[in-house]
């Protein structure tokens, strides 16, 4: 491969990979703490993107300013989905771990409802935010770097850093980690475990609120975009090691780079086949993920 082309491919892979990692952070957090795979994860990103688009189309708000609304809105959405829907599973099953299958089916139901509600309201049309920034580049040597993608990439790393720092040092962060490691003991030391679950879920989806706003400048929105992002996020989380924040970023970048290289040789759609192949191979070699604990 031509070296200049290779550099471009690496750049594209890194940028999109970091974004994959950032989008997957919430899925990893929720799975790490609650052992729930949120099947509706991608759909919540889709809702966040519609919201960011709506704020731009309706009120003329720049998506980056719209994030002031999308982040708390998605926190609220996640909090409510957990408090009103998923929490019943925890109440029903006194066991230490919720039956993964029932949680998966329940969140799959949430996914179907959300996708179809959005389809009902907005129709199947593709919506896009058009702002000048979408085409702005800066140059790193000879390589043009698209500014909104770069901002999303940097945000992914920033969010991962802030999240792991917050989990390590704040009282709520410690309570979240304690609940993840031993739910019964957390209850006994006086942690309000149902509240911790609500907040964890809300946080996981609040991150989607941010990325919804960061993605719309260069990613058009359709009601069905959620599933693809959801599956990719799942791959990223498992690749990086379940529950590991930095593993999530690494997993995202590995997937992004691989896709970028594969799409040089086959069409972008077929490249995805190879990225799932890579997924299987990595899991055969390291079943606990790249940064996961064995």
């Amino acid at each position: 491969m031509d070296p200049t082309l290779a550099l471009h491919v690496v750049k594209n892979g890194l940028l999109i990979g970091g974004i994959y990692g950032g989008v997957a952070l919430g899925l990893s957090l929720i799975f790490g703490v609650m052992r729930i795979i949120n099947f509706a994860h991608g759909s919540m990103l889709m809702v966040a993107m519609y919201l960011a688009w709506g704020l731009w189309a309706g009120l003329g708000l720049h998506p980056y300013i719209g994030a002031i609304i999308t982040v708390p809105a998605l926190f609220g959405l996640g909090y409510l989905v957990q408090a009103c829907i998923i929490s019943h599973l925890f109440r029903r099953e006194k066991a230490f771990v919720v039956e993964p299958l029932s949680a998966l089916l329940l969140t799959a139901g949430v996914f179907l409802v959300m996708d179809n509600l959005v389809l009902m309201i907005f129709g199947p049309d593709v919506r896009a935010v058009s702002i000048d920034l979408a085409y702005a580049n800066f140059f790193l040597g000879d390589i043009p770097i698209n500014i909104p993608r770069f901002i999303a990439f940097v945000s992914a790393i920033g969010v991962a850093g802030v999240l792991s720092w917050w989990l390590k040092t704040s009282d709520m962060g410690r309570a979240i980690r304690a609940t993840a490691q031993n739910r019964d003991a957390a209850t006994m030391v006086g942690i309000n475990v149902p509240l911790v679950y609500n907040i964890t879920f809300g946080l996981g989806t609040a991150i989607l609120g941010l990325f919804g706003a960061l993605l719309v400048p260069f990613f058009s929105v359709t009601p069905t975009l959620g599933l693809a992002f959801g599956i990719k996020s799942f791959v990223v989380v498992v690749l990086g090691g379940i529950g590991s924040i930095w593993g999530c970023v690494v997993g995202g970048i590995v997937l992004g780079l691989f896709e970028a290289f594969a799409s040089q040789f086959v069409t972008a759609t077929s490249a995805q086949i190879f990225s799932f192949g890579l997924f299987v191979v990595i899991l055969l070699v390291r079943p606990s993920g790249l940064l996961g604990k064995a």
Binding site: D171, A175, R177, A178, Q181, A185, T187, M188, V189, G190
Partner: protein, 238 residues
């Protein structure tokens, strides 16, 4: 202020259709050590689970210095001042020793005094200060038990319950642990201790209750129980 640290009346609780506890009456005075003794399956751990709120009680009431705890949420009970060092330690394995202790002071009442309580716990168990930055899972069984007791103390409890603190420990560690418990009593709180080491715990305890098939069958001061014939035969093997 009531002169009863913990007052349990007619408490029953259980799993499924069976009542494990069948109308327990038990009182713990302030600044005392009370022992709860019983064979496996007598309902000791179920009793503690019910008081902490992990298991809902079916009848009866639980009061802590006169404050009603019955049917409160577990975190409210911790806030009211009941802390448990559970059987089998139940630490947060991937957190450091110090993080385990800090999480113990999660309730609002304990949080403001956290650093001071932490120093108290470190002076009680000096080895924990040495190992403060090690993951809890890397400690020996005896040290982990100290973390569990220390974590319960971090909650600034008015009543501290210790469920089988000597379980699985080497005899020398058991002795050390009992020394520490004797020193905890100076901290001006009521201790409820469940133990298999019946002789050792009754020597230290002010009061004792014997639980059999979910009912209190014998109660009295520590020395009375030590002299009780039934108890000698059943638990002390004399």
């Amino acid at each position: 202020m009531s002169n009863k640290a913990l007052e349990v009346t007619n408490l029953s609780a259980g799993y499924g259709e069976n009542d494990v506890l069948q109308g327990i009456d038990l009182t713990i005075p302030p600044k005392s050590i009370t022992a709860l003794i019983g064979a496996n399956g007598a309902g000791k751990t179920t009793f503690l689970k019910t008081v902490t709120g992990l298991l809902p009680g079916r009848t009866g009431s639980i009061k802590l210095f006169g404050e009603e705890l019955t049917s409160k949420k577990p975190y409210k009970i911790a806030e009211a001042g009941f802390a448990l060092s559970p059987e089998g330690k139940q630490l947060f394995p991937e957190m450091t020793v110090e993080e385990n202790l800090i999480v113990g002071a999660h309730n609002v009442r304990a949080r403001s005094a956290r650093n001071q309580t932490l120093e108290e716990v470190y002076s009680l168990f000096s080895i924990l200060k040495e190992k403060r930055n090690d993951p809890a899972a890397s400690l020996s069984g005896g040290q982990q038990q100290m973390v569990a007791v220390g974590r319960a103390l971090m909650a600034k409890p008015k009543v501290l319950a210790l469920d089988e603190p000597s379980l699985g420990l080497a005899p020398i560690m058991v002795d050390r642990l009992f020394e520490s418990i004797a020193r905890i009593r100076e901290l001006d709180l009521a201790i409820l201790i469940i133990e298999q080491n019946v002789f050792q715990v009754l020597e230290m305890a002010d009061y004792g209750y014997v639980l059999e098939n979910g009912e209190v069958t014998i109660s009295g001061t520590g020395s009375e129980l030590l002299a009780n014939d039934h108890l000698k035969r059943a638990y002390l093997g004399l």
